[in-house]
Assembly symmetry: C2
DNA sequence: ACAAAAGTGTTTTGGGTACACCCATGT
DNA sequence: ACATGGGTGTACCCAAAACACTTTTGT
């Protein structure tokens, strides 16, 4: 316990785990039972944990992801440090609940966001208390977790427009329509199919495969894969902040 | 001392303070005298400090900036958490020097970068040990500070292409040529004057003033200012990660 | 008068956008 | 045969890029 224990008492990692399935983006939250007055209420929070003395924060995030989803090797990226000294005290009952679990009453947290394709994951590996909430229907969360979630969603949208993160939400092999639908649902918009395809067909790192969908009751679509190496080689930065 | 003191022993902020002047980008480093064997060597590091119990990390960064440059109200932005458990032990002599100053041997640090226009600042306010180093001539720094500096420079270039941070490096009122030269020196390139001006003249938040340079031995240039409010109102995000 | 930087227009090329029909498959 | 999504081309407009001369000031 204390500063020289195995756990760093003043630093945690909270994970905003985004999952995509059936044209909608979801976020993993978990339930806690909180005593309030004489009853017990169920509250939701983001999965998180303290940083251990001998690990990097990426290790911490990987540990949380493994615990919550059973999956290793998931994309995760730190995006912001939340350091409001009163972040655990937004509501008194939250702080009362968490206080006995803390080594230090001041805890800063590093926000990570993480991307998984829900078709890939076996939901039986999810822990009991976890639930996928639609990002448009996120309820009140404990502490400052609504701030963390909102910042993660903004950052995800920002990053998706500048980096090829979308492939973390798609299966290994995907159709162009599947890809288009991910953008459309996350940005809440629609794109013209022909223009969309013309644009992405210019991306040399999108590899058309000699494989097609099977078992669909319409013309089967060609499958594509993403070649990260080709992307890295062709990457350029451009001077263009917006008019 | 320890976990419940006024200082959070396991968390610090390090600042990469960029300064611009005379077409070159500089970074503020400070000197420490380190005993090595029987002599004393001078080593350079980034300015940094621990986070206090009752402040946000932005407060910490502002405190460091005030100490080092004498200036308040400087732009500063967190960009990454450096969490390698051995980050202070890259060289044994660095760790020996810093160890007596630490409350905890494990220190994670939040990297901030900061932007100042060197024409604005009174260098007499700089502390004795500080020096502006040209970003192309940064020498070996203590700990993982070269990693922090390199990450900051990459992030600065990235952010400059997507956000109007350039105005933090310019005086309140500036000419279009001054603005162009900041880009050219940071990105190490040149732009065509007419195309550059056509492009930025389309930015509604760049306000032409009825003021001109004085005392220059050539046609005096018109001065412009940046209107942040107009920028915020016109901001859009675009779907365009690169081909 | 000269030196120094300010300021300005045209042409060509490529990308963005709007828009409608035929194709391959399962039932 | 029909329902379902897959897949394709053209015309217009605007943005990017290449490129050279005149203007205004101080000395």
């Amino acid at each position: 316990m204390g500063c020289n224990g195995e756990v760093l008492g003043c630093l945690s990692v909270d994970c905003v785990i985004f999952g995509y399935e059936d044209s909608s983006l979801k976020v993993l939250v978990r339930k806690e039972s909180i005593p309030l007055d004489d009853s017990i209420v169920e509250e939701w929070k983001l999965p998180g944990n303290h940083v251990l003395r001998h690990e990097t924060i990426d290790d911490t995030a990987a540990r949380i992801l493994k615990e919550q989803t059973g999956l290793g090797n998931i994309f995760a990226k730190q995006f912001f440090v939340f350091s409001d000294p009163d972040r655990l005290r937004r509501r008194p009952q939250d702080f009362e609940w968490v206080k006995p679990r803390l080594q230090d009453e001041r805890v800063l947290t590093v926000g990570f966001y993480s991307l998984v394709n829900l078709k890939d994951i076996d939901n039986s590996m999810l822990i009991e208390e976890a639930r996928w909430m639609n990002v448009n229907e996120v309820t009140e969360l404990m502490f400052d977790h609504n701030d963390i979630f909102n910042a993660a969603l903004l950052k995800l949208r920002y990053d998706l427009t500048h980096e090829p993160l979308i492939f973390e939400l798609l299966p290994e092999k995907f159709t162009l329509t599947q890809m288009q639908k991910v953008y459309e649902s996350i940005f809440d918009t629609v794109y013209d199919k022909r223009n969309y395809r013309r644009k992405i067909n210019k991306m040399p790192y999108l590899i058309p495969l000699d494989e097609y969908q099977i078992g669909v009751s319409h013309k089967p679509a060609r499958l594509f894969s993403f070649d990260k190496k080709i992307y890295e080689e062709n990457r350029i930065e451009r001077f263009d902040f917006h008019v």
